[in-house]
Symmetry: C2
Subunit: 247 residues, 2 copies
DNA sequence: CGCCCTTTTGAGGCATTTCAAACATTGTGG
DNA sequence: CCACAATGTTTGAAATGCCTCAAAAGGGCG
Protein backbone atom coordinates (compact mmCIF):
# COMPACT_ATOMS: atom_id res chain seq x y z
CA UNK A 1 0.00 0.00 0.00
CA UNK A 2 2.91 2.28 0.49
CA UNK A 3 4.83 2.79 -2.68
CA UNK A 4 7.28 5.28 -1.28
CA UNK A 5 10.74 4.00 -2.03
CA UNK A 6 13.49 5.56 -0.08
CA UNK A 7 17.12 5.79 -1.06
CA UNK A 8 18.59 7.28 2.10
CA UNK A 9 21.61 9.42 1.69
CA UNK A 10 24.75 7.38 1.95
CA UNK A 11 28.16 8.64 2.85
CA UNK A 12 29.30 7.13 -0.43
CA UNK A 13 28.28 4.73 -3.16
CA UNK A 14 30.05 1.86 -1.43
CA UNK A 15 27.57 2.00 1.40
CA UNK A 16 24.56 2.93 -0.70
CA UNK A 17 22.02 0.19 -0.60
CA UNK A 18 20.88 1.21 -4.07
CA UNK A 19 24.20 1.04 -5.83
CA UNK A 20 23.05 -2.19 -7.44
CA UNK A 21 20.00 -0.49 -8.89
CA UNK A 22 21.69 2.41 -10.63
CA UNK A 23 24.38 2.85 -13.22
CA UNK A 24 26.94 1.71 -10.64
CA UNK A 25 25.54 -1.79 -10.67
CA UNK A 26 28.42 -3.41 -12.55
CA UNK A 27 31.22 -1.83 -10.58
CA UNK A 28 33.55 -3.74 -8.31
CA UNK A 29 34.42 -2.26 -4.88
CA UNK A 30 37.36 -0.35 -6.33
CA UNK A 31 35.24 1.09 -9.10
CA UNK A 32 32.51 1.99 -6.66
CA UNK A 33 35.00 3.81 -4.47
CA UNK A 34 36.33 5.65 -7.49
CA UNK A 35 32.87 6.68 -8.62
CA UNK A 36 31.96 7.66 -5.10
CA UNK A 37 34.61 10.37 -5.08
CA UNK A 38 32.69 12.36 -7.64
CA UNK A 39 29.08 11.67 -6.75
CA UNK A 40 27.14 14.24 -4.78
CA UNK A 41 24.18 13.07 -2.77
CA UNK A 42 21.77 15.93 -3.03
CA UNK A 43 19.18 16.99 -0.56
CA UNK A 44 15.49 16.96 -1.01
CA UNK A 45 13.73 18.84 -3.72
CA UNK A 46 10.21 19.86 -2.74
CA UNK A 47 7.10 19.44 -4.86
CA UNK A 48 7.31 21.79 -7.81
CA UNK A 49 11.03 22.45 -7.54
CA UNK A 50 13.01 21.93 -10.69
CA UNK A 51 16.19 19.93 -11.02
CA UNK A 52 17.00 21.55 -14.35
CA UNK A 53 15.23 23.51 -17.03
CA UNK A 54 15.10 23.20 -20.75
CA UNK A 55 18.03 25.20 -22.09
CA UNK A 56 20.21 24.86 -18.99
CA UNK A 57 23.78 23.93 -19.64
CA UNK A 58 24.57 20.28 -19.05
CA UNK A 59 26.60 19.95 -15.91
CA UNK A 60 25.77 16.55 -14.52
CA UNK A 61 23.77 13.38 -14.91
CA UNK A 62 21.29 12.65 -12.13
CA UNK A 63 19.95 9.55 -10.44
CA UNK A 64 16.80 9.54 -8.34
CA UNK A 65 17.17 8.17 -4.83
CA UNK A 66 13.66 8.80 -3.49
CA UNK A 67 10.46 10.50 -4.53
CA UNK A 68 9.50 11.07 -8.14
CA UNK A 69 9.86 13.61 -10.91
CA UNK A 70 8.56 14.29 -14.37
CA UNK A 71 10.34 15.62 -17.41
CA UNK A 72 8.58 17.73 -19.98
CA UNK A 73 9.08 19.68 -23.14
CA UNK A 74 8.10 23.29 -23.73
CA UNK A 75 7.24 23.87 -27.35
CA UNK A 76 7.76 27.21 -29.10
CA UNK A 77 4.07 27.95 -28.92
CA UNK A 78 3.97 27.72 -25.18
CA UNK A 79 2.38 24.35 -24.60
CA UNK A 80 3.90 21.58 -22.58
CA UNK A 81 4.21 17.87 -23.16
CA UNK A 82 5.29 15.53 -20.42
CA UNK A 83 7.68 12.93 -21.72
CA UNK A 84 8.46 10.82 -18.66
CA UNK A 85 7.78 10.10 -15.03
CA UNK A 86 10.86 9.11 -13.06
CA UNK A 87 11.22 6.96 -9.97
CA UNK A 88 14.13 5.93 -7.74
CA UNK A 89 16.95 4.37 -9.71
CA UNK A 90 16.04 6.24 -12.91
CA UNK A 91 18.60 8.44 -14.65
CA UNK A 92 17.84 12.02 -15.70
CA UNK A 93 19.50 14.55 -17.89
CA UNK A 94 21.05 12.34 -20.53
CA UNK A 95 19.29 14.02 -23.44
CA UNK A 96 21.42 17.09 -22.77
CA UNK A 97 24.45 15.17 -23.97
CA UNK A 98 23.44 15.77 -27.58
CA UNK A 99 23.88 19.52 -27.62
CA UNK A 100 25.30 20.30 -24.19
CA UNK A 101 22.05 21.86 -23.01
CA UNK A 102 19.03 20.23 -21.45
CA UNK A 103 16.25 19.59 -23.94
CA UNK A 104 13.69 18.95 -21.23
CA UNK A 105 12.84 20.38 -17.83
CA UNK A 106 12.66 18.18 -14.74
CA UNK A 107 10.37 18.94 -11.83
CA UNK A 108 9.79 17.12 -8.55
CA UNK A 109 6.31 15.66 -8.03
CA UNK A 110 6.94 15.22 -4.31
CA UNK A 111 9.86 15.46 -1.92
CA UNK A 112 12.71 13.96 -3.86
CA UNK A 113 16.37 13.12 -3.28
CA UNK A 114 18.91 12.43 -5.97
CA UNK A 115 22.60 11.98 -6.79
CA UNK A 116 24.56 14.08 -9.23
CA UNK A 117 27.60 13.06 -11.23
CA UNK A 118 29.40 15.85 -13.05
CA UNK A 119 29.23 15.02 -16.73
CA UNK A 120 32.92 15.41 -17.44
CA UNK A 121 33.60 12.96 -14.64
CA UNK A 122 31.20 10.51 -16.23
CA UNK A 123 33.18 10.73 -19.43
CA UNK A 124 36.49 10.35 -17.65
CA UNK A 125 35.34 7.49 -15.47
CA UNK A 126 33.58 5.68 -18.28
CA UNK A 127 36.86 5.34 -20.12
CA UNK A 128 38.42 3.77 -17.05
CA UNK A 129 35.42 1.72 -15.97
CA UNK A 130 33.84 -0.06 -18.94
CA UNK A 131 31.08 -1.34 -16.68
CA UNK A 132 30.02 2.21 -15.95
CA UNK A 133 30.09 3.20 -19.60
CA UNK A 134 27.98 0.23 -20.48
CA UNK A 135 25.41 1.01 -17.81
CA UNK A 136 25.13 4.63 -18.89
CA UNK A 137 24.54 3.46 -22.44
CA UNK A 138 22.02 0.90 -21.23
CA UNK A 139 20.17 3.57 -19.31
CA UNK A 140 20.14 5.77 -22.40
CA UNK A 141 18.88 2.91 -24.55
CA UNK A 142 16.17 2.15 -21.98
CA UNK A 143 15.05 5.72 -22.21
CA UNK A 144 14.79 5.41 -25.97
CA UNK A 145 12.71 2.27 -25.58
CA UNK A 146 10.43 3.90 -23.05
CA UNK A 147 9.89 6.91 -25.29
CA UNK A 148 9.21 4.65 -28.25
CA UNK A 149 6.58 2.97 -26.16
CA UNK A 150 5.10 6.34 -25.35
CA UNK A 151 4.87 7.08 -29.08
CA UNK A 152 3.15 3.75 -29.59
CA UNK A 153 0.60 4.61 -26.91
CA UNK A 154 -0.17 8.00 -28.37
CA UNK A 155 -0.15 6.80 -31.93
CA UNK A 156 -2.13 3.59 -31.74
CA UNK A 157 -4.21 3.46 -28.60
CA UNK A 158 -7.57 4.83 -27.58
CA UNK A 159 -7.87 6.95 -24.48
CA UNK A 160 -9.04 4.05 -22.26
CA UNK A 161 -6.19 1.85 -23.49
CA UNK A 162 -3.70 4.62 -22.81
CA UNK A 163 -4.78 5.03 -19.23
CA UNK A 164 -4.79 1.28 -18.67
CA UNK A 165 -1.30 0.99 -20.16
CA UNK A 166 -0.16 3.84 -17.99
CA UNK A 167 -1.42 2.15 -14.84
CA UNK A 168 0.18 -1.12 -15.88
CA UNK A 169 3.46 0.66 -16.50
CA UNK A 170 3.36 2.19 -13.03
CA UNK A 171 2.39 -1.19 -11.58
CA UNK A 172 5.36 -2.81 -13.21
CA UNK A 173 7.77 -0.13 -12.15
CA UNK A 174 6.61 -0.28 -8.54
CA UNK A 175 6.87 -4.05 -8.56
CA UNK A 176 10.44 -3.79 -9.85
CA UNK A 177 11.18 -1.54 -6.91
CA UNK A 178 9.79 -3.97 -4.40
CA UNK A 179 6.44 -2.25 -3.91
CA UNK A 180 2.97 -3.57 -4.44
CA UNK A 181 2.00 -3.91 -8.06
CA UNK A 182 -1.70 -3.70 -7.27
CA UNK A 183 -1.91 -0.85 -4.82
CA UNK A 184 -0.03 2.40 -5.02
CA UNK A 185 -0.26 6.14 -4.75
CA UNK A 186 -0.06 8.32 -7.82
CA UNK A 187 2.46 11.06 -7.33
CA UNK A 188 1.03 13.02 -10.24
CA UNK A 189 -2.24 14.91 -10.65
CA UNK A 190 -4.99 14.03 -13.10
CA UNK A 191 -3.86 17.03 -15.10
CA UNK A 192 -0.36 15.62 -15.33
CA UNK A 193 -1.61 12.19 -16.33
CA UNK A 194 -3.82 13.81 -18.94
CA UNK A 195 -0.92 15.77 -20.37
CA UNK A 196 1.36 12.74 -20.46
CA UNK A 197 -1.29 10.66 -22.21
CA UNK A 198 -2.33 13.54 -24.45
CA UNK A 199 -6.00 13.53 -23.56
CA UNK A 200 -8.21 16.06 -21.76
CA UNK A 201 -8.32 16.04 -17.96
CA UNK A 202 -12.04 15.46 -18.10
CA UNK A 203 -11.44 12.31 -20.11
CA UNK A 204 -9.01 10.98 -17.50
CA UNK A 205 -11.54 11.66 -14.80
CA UNK A 206 -14.29 9.89 -16.73
CA UNK A 207 -12.03 6.93 -17.46
CA UNK A 208 -11.09 6.48 -13.81
CA UNK A 209 -14.78 6.48 -12.98
CA UNK A 210 -15.52 3.96 -15.72
CA UNK A 211 -12.73 1.62 -14.69
CA UNK A 212 -13.94 1.74 -11.14
CA UNK A 213 -17.55 1.19 -12.18
CA UNK A 214 -16.47 -1.85 -14.15
CA UNK A 215 -14.67 -3.23 -11.11
CA UNK A 216 -11.24 -3.13 -12.72
CA UNK A 217 -9.74 -0.74 -10.21
CA UNK A 218 -10.66 1.17 -7.08
CA UNK A 219 -9.61 4.79 -6.93
CA UNK A 220 -9.66 7.10 -3.99
CA UNK A 221 -8.05 10.37 -4.84
CA UNK A 222 -4.51 9.37 -5.64
CA UNK A 223 -4.65 5.88 -4.24
CA UNK A 224 -5.17 3.23 -6.88
CA UNK A 225 -5.96 -0.43 -6.23
CA UNK A 226 -5.93 -2.71 -9.20
CA UNK A 227 -8.66 -5.28 -8.66
CA UNK A 228 -8.00 -7.26 -11.79
CA UNK A 229 -4.69 -7.09 -13.59
CA UNK A 230 -5.99 -9.22 -16.50
CA UNK A 231 -8.99 -6.95 -16.97
CA UNK A 232 -6.71 -3.93 -17.00
CA UNK A 233 -4.47 -5.63 -19.54
CA UNK A 234 -7.50 -6.32 -21.69
CA UNK A 235 -8.40 -2.65 -21.66
CA UNK A 236 -4.80 -1.72 -22.41
CA UNK A 237 -4.64 -3.82 -25.54
CA UNK A 238 -8.12 -3.08 -26.77
CA UNK A 239 -7.56 -2.57 -30.46
CA UNK A 240 -11.04 -1.24 -31.07
CA UNK A 241 -9.82 1.96 -32.61
CA UNK A 242 -6.47 1.06 -34.00
CA UNK A 243 -7.19 -1.24 -36.89
CA UNK A 244 -5.30 -0.49 -40.06
CA UNK A 245 -2.93 2.34 -39.70
CA UNK A 246 -0.01 0.04 -40.27
CA UNK A 247 2.45 0.80 -43.02
CA UNK B 1 15.85 18.81 -56.65
CA UNK B 2 17.76 15.63 -56.09
CA UNK B 3 17.96 14.74 -52.45
CA UNK B 4 19.78 11.46 -52.93
CA UNK B 5 22.84 11.57 -50.74
CA UNK B 6 25.44 9.01 -51.50
CA UNK B 7 28.04 7.62 -49.15
CA UNK B 8 30.06 5.49 -51.56
CA UNK B 9 31.75 2.47 -50.15
CA UNK B 10 35.22 3.35 -48.96
CA UNK B 11 38.08 0.98 -48.49
CA UNK B 12 38.19 2.28 -44.92
CA UNK B 13 37.04 5.07 -42.69
CA UNK B 14 40.20 7.06 -43.35
CA UNK B 15 39.17 7.56 -46.93
CA UNK B 16 35.46 7.83 -46.30
CA UNK B 17 34.24 11.26 -47.23
CA UNK B 18 31.55 10.92 -44.59
CA UNK B 19 33.71 10.12 -41.62
CA UNK B 20 33.15 13.65 -40.41
CA UNK B 21 29.41 13.18 -40.44
CA UNK B 22 29.17 10.03 -38.39
CA UNK B 23 30.26 8.91 -34.96
CA UNK B 24 33.87 8.94 -36.18
CA UNK B 25 33.84 12.70 -36.48
CA UNK B 26 36.06 13.39 -33.48
CA UNK B 27 38.72 10.82 -34.26
CA UNK B 28 42.25 11.66 -35.26
CA UNK B 29 43.86 9.72 -38.13
CA UNK B 30 45.16 7.05 -35.75
CA UNK B 31 41.74 6.60 -34.19
CA UNK B 32 40.13 6.50 -37.58
CA UNK B 33 42.50 3.80 -38.70
CA UNK B 34 41.81 1.86 -35.53
CA UNK B 35 38.06 2.12 -35.99
CA UNK B 36 38.37 1.24 -39.62
CA UNK B 37 39.73 -2.19 -38.77
CA UNK B 38 36.39 -3.22 -37.35
CA UNK B 39 33.93 -1.45 -39.58
CA UNK B 40 32.21 -3.36 -42.34
CA UNK B 41 30.89 -1.41 -45.30
CA UNK B 42 27.78 -3.27 -46.24
CA UNK B 43 26.24 -3.55 -49.64
CA UNK B 44 22.92 -2.25 -50.71
CA UNK B 45 19.68 -3.25 -49.11
CA UNK B 46 16.76 -3.08 -51.52
CA UNK B 47 13.40 -1.47 -50.84
CA UNK B 48 11.60 -3.53 -48.24
CA UNK B 49 14.64 -5.43 -47.01
CA UNK B 50 15.22 -5.38 -43.29
CA UNK B 51 18.47 -4.55 -41.57
CA UNK B 52 17.26 -6.08 -38.30
CA UNK B 53 14.00 -7.14 -36.73
CA UNK B 54 12.48 -6.53 -33.37
CA UNK B 55 13.76 -9.30 -31.12
CA UNK B 56 16.99 -9.93 -33.03
CA UNK B 57 20.08 -10.22 -30.92
CA UNK B 58 22.21 -7.09 -30.85
CA UNK B 59 25.32 -7.70 -32.88
CA UNK B 60 26.32 -4.31 -34.20
CA UNK B 61 25.52 -0.63 -34.43
CA UNK B 62 24.79 0.66 -37.92
CA UNK B 63 25.37 3.89 -39.77
CA UNK B 64 23.56 4.79 -42.96
CA UNK B 65 25.75 5.70 -45.91
CA UNK B 66 23.11 6.20 -48.60
CA UNK B 67 19.40 5.76 -49.09
CA UNK B 68 16.92 5.80 -46.24
CA UNK B 69 15.25 3.51 -43.76
CA UNK B 70 12.52 3.55 -41.20
CA UNK B 71 12.34 1.91 -37.80
CA UNK B 72 9.08 0.70 -36.34
CA UNK B 73 7.59 -1.05 -33.39
CA UNK B 74 5.29 -4.07 -33.53
CA UNK B 75 2.91 -4.06 -30.61
CA UNK B 76 1.53 -7.24 -29.07
CA UNK B 77 -1.78 -6.71 -30.79
CA UNK B 78 -0.28 -6.73 -34.23
CA UNK B 79 -0.25 -3.08 -35.12
CA UNK B 80 2.78 -1.13 -36.16
CA UNK B 81 4.05 2.29 -35.20
CA UNK B 82 6.87 3.93 -37.10
CA UNK B 83 9.24 5.66 -34.76
CA UNK B 84 11.84 7.17 -37.06
CA UNK B 85 12.99 7.80 -40.60
CA UNK B 86 16.73 7.55 -41.05
CA UNK B 87 19.01 9.22 -43.56
CA UNK B 88 22.73 9.05 -44.33
CA UNK B 89 24.85 9.72 -41.27
CA UNK B 90 22.16 8.49 -38.87
CA UNK B 91 22.90 5.70 -36.40
CA UNK B 92 20.63 2.68 -36.03
CA UNK B 93 20.29 -0.10 -33.53
CA UNK B 94 21.27 1.66 -30.34
CA UNK B 95 18.02 0.90 -28.54
CA UNK B 96 19.08 -2.76 -28.51
CA UNK B 97 21.83 -1.88 -26.03
CA UNK B 98 19.29 -1.86 -23.21
CA UNK B 99 18.40 -5.52 -23.28
CA UNK B 100 20.74 -6.97 -25.88
CA UNK B 101 17.93 -7.44 -28.39
CA UNK B 102 16.53 -5.01 -30.92
CA UNK B 103 13.37 -3.31 -29.74
CA UNK B 104 12.53 -2.04 -33.22
CA UNK B 105 12.70 -3.35 -36.75
CA UNK B 106 14.53 -1.45 -39.47
CA UNK B 107 13.53 -1.61 -43.12
CA UNK B 108 14.97 0.06 -46.21
CA UNK B 109 12.72 2.56 -47.98
CA UNK B 110 14.90 2.48 -51.06
CA UNK B 111 18.28 1.11 -52.09
CA UNK B 112 20.41 1.71 -49.05
CA UNK B 113 24.03 1.21 -48.02
CA UNK B 114 25.35 1.21 -44.49
CA UNK B 115 28.29 0.45 -42.20
CA UNK B 116 28.26 -2.00 -39.34
CA UNK B 117 30.40 -1.91 -36.21
CA UNK B 118 30.24 -5.00 -34.01
CA UNK B 119 28.89 -3.89 -30.67
CA UNK B 120 31.61 -5.45 -28.55
CA UNK B 121 34.14 -3.57 -30.66
CA UNK B 122 32.28 -0.34 -30.01
CA UNK B 123 32.58 -0.98 -26.29
CA UNK B 124 36.25 -1.86 -26.54
CA UNK B 125 37.12 1.06 -28.80
CA UNK B 126 35.09 3.56 -26.83
CA UNK B 127 37.25 2.90 -23.78
CA UNK B 128 40.34 3.63 -25.84
CA UNK B 129 38.92 6.48 -27.88
CA UNK B 130 36.96 8.91 -25.70
CA UNK B 131 35.98 10.87 -28.79
CA UNK B 132 34.18 7.84 -30.13
CA UNK B 133 32.41 7.16 -26.85
CA UNK B 134 31.25 10.72 -26.69
CA UNK B 135 29.89 10.64 -30.23
CA UNK B 136 28.01 7.41 -29.61
CA UNK B 137 26.45 8.99 -26.54
CA UNK B 138 25.64 12.13 -28.48
CA UNK B 139 23.97 10.10 -31.18
CA UNK B 140 21.94 8.27 -28.54
CA UNK B 141 20.96 11.53 -26.89
CA UNK B 142 19.95 12.97 -30.27
CA UNK B 143 17.71 10.01 -30.79
CA UNK B 144 16.06 10.65 -27.44
CA UNK B 145 15.51 14.28 -28.40
CA UNK B 146 14.05 13.31 -31.75
CA UNK B 147 11.67 10.84 -30.15
CA UNK B 148 10.65 13.41 -27.56
CA UNK B 149 9.82 15.72 -30.40
CA UNK B 150 7.76 12.99 -32.00
CA UNK B 151 5.81 12.63 -28.75
CA UNK B 152 5.25 16.38 -28.74
CA UNK B 153 3.88 16.22 -32.28
CA UNK B 154 1.50 13.39 -31.52
CA UNK B 155 0.47 14.79 -28.18
CA UNK B 156 -0.06 18.45 -28.92
CA UNK B 157 -0.53 19.03 -32.61
CA UNK B 158 -3.43 18.77 -35.00
CA UNK B 159 -3.12 16.67 -38.12
CA UNK B 160 -2.23 19.64 -40.38
CA UNK B 161 0.42 20.83 -37.91
CA UNK B 162 1.91 17.34 -37.74
CA UNK B 163 2.29 17.08 -41.48
CA UNK B 164 3.78 20.56 -41.71
CA UNK B 165 6.23 19.77 -38.92
CA UNK B 166 7.13 16.56 -40.64
CA UNK B 167 7.91 18.32 -43.90
CA UNK B 168 9.94 20.95 -42.05
CA UNK B 169 11.88 18.22 -40.28
CA UNK B 170 12.70 16.59 -43.60
CA UNK B 171 13.58 19.97 -45.05
CA UNK B 172 16.01 20.61 -42.24
CA UNK B 173 17.58 17.20 -42.43
CA UNK B 174 18.11 17.48 -46.17
CA UNK B 175 19.60 20.92 -45.77
CA UNK B 176 22.03 19.58 -43.17
CA UNK B 177 23.09 17.00 -45.70
CA UNK B 178 23.75 19.56 -48.37
CA UNK B 179 20.51 19.05 -50.31
CA UNK B 180 17.80 21.50 -51.14
CA UNK B 181 15.61 22.41 -48.23
CA UNK B 182 12.71 23.38 -50.45
CA UNK B 183 12.57 20.60 -52.99
CA UNK B 184 13.00 16.92 -52.30
CA UNK B 185 11.67 13.47 -52.91
CA UNK B 186 9.85 11.58 -50.21
CA UNK B 187 11.26 8.11 -49.84
CA UNK B 188 8.22 6.96 -47.92
CA UNK B 189 4.64 6.33 -49.02
CA UNK B 190 1.59 8.25 -47.84
CA UNK B 191 0.73 5.21 -45.79
CA UNK B 192 4.10 5.37 -44.04
CA UNK B 193 3.78 9.08 -43.38
CA UNK B 194 0.29 8.48 -42.01
CA UNK B 195 1.52 5.77 -39.68
CA UNK B 196 4.44 7.87 -38.45
CA UNK B 197 2.15 10.83 -37.77
CA UNK B 198 -0.60 8.63 -36.38
CA UNK B 199 -3.34 9.81 -38.69
CA UNK B 200 -5.32 8.06 -41.43
CA UNK B 201 -3.87 7.85 -44.95
CA UNK B 202 -6.89 9.65 -46.27
CA UNK B 203 -6.14 12.55 -43.96
CA UNK B 204 -2.58 12.80 -45.24
CA UNK B 205 -3.85 12.84 -48.78
CA UNK B 206 -6.38 15.56 -47.99
CA UNK B 207 -3.76 17.61 -46.18
CA UNK B 208 -1.33 17.46 -49.08
CA UNK B 209 -4.13 18.64 -51.34
CA UNK B 210 -5.02 21.46 -48.95
CA UNK B 211 -1.44 22.65 -48.56
CA UNK B 212 -1.07 22.69 -52.31
CA UNK B 213 -4.38 24.49 -52.80
CA UNK B 214 -3.24 27.11 -50.32
CA UNK B 215 -0.02 27.58 -52.23
CA UNK B 216 2.22 26.45 -49.40
CA UNK B 217 3.70 23.52 -51.27
CA UNK B 218 3.55 21.82 -54.63
CA UNK B 219 3.29 18.06 -54.62
CA UNK B 220 3.66 15.70 -57.50
CA UNK B 221 3.55 12.13 -56.31
CA UNK B 222 6.61 11.94 -54.06
CA UNK B 223 8.22 15.16 -55.14
CA UNK B 224 7.62 18.02 -52.74
CA UNK B 225 8.43 21.67 -53.38
CA UNK B 226 8.02 24.02 -50.49
CA UNK B 227 6.76 27.32 -51.89
CA UNK B 228 6.71 29.18 -48.60
CA UNK B 229 8.73 28.05 -45.65
CA UNK B 230 7.15 30.67 -43.37
CA UNK B 231 3.65 29.58 -44.34
CA UNK B 232 4.56 25.98 -43.62
CA UNK B 233 5.99 27.00 -40.26
CA UNK B 234 2.78 28.81 -39.48
CA UNK B 235 0.79 25.67 -40.16
CA UNK B 236 3.24 23.64 -38.08
CA UNK B 237 2.79 25.79 -35.02
CA UNK B 238 -0.91 26.37 -35.40
CA UNK B 239 -2.12 25.97 -31.85
CA UNK B 240 -5.77 25.92 -32.82
CA UNK B 241 -6.42 22.62 -31.18
CA UNK B 242 -3.86 22.46 -28.47
CA UNK B 243 -4.88 25.07 -25.98
CA UNK B 244 -4.82 24.02 -22.34
CA UNK B 245 -3.62 20.53 -21.88
CA UNK B 246 -0.52 21.73 -20.09
CA UNK B 247 0.22 20.44 -16.63
C1' DC C 1 -3.19 -3.32 -72.42
C1' DG C 2 -4.89 -4.81 -68.13
C1' DC C 3 -4.05 -5.89 -63.34
C1' DC C 4 -2.61 -4.23 -58.89
C1' DC C 5 -1.50 -1.05 -55.58
C1' DT C 6 -1.31 3.65 -54.09
C1' DT C 7 -3.55 7.87 -53.85
C1' DT C 8 -7.49 10.75 -53.90
C1' DT C 9 -12.22 12.29 -52.97
C1' DG C 10 -16.81 12.18 -50.74
C1' DA C 11 -20.20 11.38 -46.96
C1' DG C 12 -21.44 10.00 -42.51
C1' DG C 13 -20.14 8.53 -37.75
C1' DC C 14 -17.90 8.58 -33.46
C1' DA C 15 -14.38 9.26 -29.85
C1' DT C 16 -12.75 12.83 -27.64
C1' DT C 17 -12.69 17.75 -26.91
C1' DT C 18 -14.61 21.98 -25.44
C1' DC C 19 -17.49 24.61 -22.65
C1' DA C 20 -19.93 25.13 -18.36
C1' DA C 21 -20.80 24.30 -13.73
C1' DA C 22 -21.03 21.70 -9.44
C1' DC C 23 -18.15 19.56 -6.05
C1' DA C 24 -14.23 18.19 -3.22
C1' DT C 25 -9.76 19.17 -1.22
C1' DT C 26 -6.00 21.66 0.41
C1' DG C 27 -3.99 25.50 2.35
C1' DT C 28 -4.34 30.11 4.77
C1' DG C 29 -5.22 33.76 7.82
C1' DG C 30 -8.04 35.59 11.25
C1' DC D 1 -10.60 25.91 14.58
C1' DC D 2 -13.29 27.57 11.07
C1' DA D 3 -14.47 30.52 6.97
C1' DC D 4 -12.59 31.54 2.54
C1' DA D 5 -9.80 31.29 -1.34
C1' DA D 6 -7.46 28.68 -4.60
C1' DT D 7 -6.84 24.59 -6.84
C1' DG D 8 -7.95 20.08 -8.43
C1' DT D 9 -11.63 16.79 -9.70
C1' DT D 10 -15.97 15.27 -11.44
C1' DT D 11 -20.08 15.37 -14.30
C1' DG D 12 -23.11 16.80 -18.16
C1' DA D 13 -24.22 18.47 -22.87
C1' DA D 14 -22.92 20.13 -27.22
C1' DA D 15 -19.38 20.70 -30.82
C1' DT D 16 -15.81 18.93 -33.92
C1' DG D 17 -11.71 16.92 -36.01
C1' DC D 18 -10.48 12.94 -37.68
C1' DC D 19 -11.73 8.27 -38.84
C1' DT D 20 -14.21 4.76 -41.27
C1' DC D 21 -16.40 3.16 -45.13
C1' DA D 22 -17.01 3.27 -50.06
C1' DA D 23 -15.53 4.07 -54.50
C1' DA D 24 -13.20 6.41 -58.21
C1' DA D 25 -8.84 7.96 -60.23
C1' DG D 26 -4.03 7.61 -61.11
C1' DG D 27 0.48 5.36 -61.93
C1' DG D 28 3.71 1.28 -62.21
C1' DC D 29 4.81 -2.93 -64.33
C1' DG D 30 4.58 -7.44 -66.54
Amino acid sequence: MNNVVSFPSAANCTNCRWSRACIARDLDPAGLAELSRYVTHCGPLEHGERLFRQGDKLSALYLLRSGSMKTYLDSEDGCEQSVAFLFPGDMLGFDAVAIGHHATSAVALETTAYCAIPYDRVIGLAAKLPGLMHQVMRAAASQIMATHDHVLQLGQKSAPARLASFLLDLSHRFETRGCSKTEFNLSMSRQEIANYLAVAVETISRLFTDLQRRGVIVVDRRLVKIQSLPALQAVASDSTLLQERSA
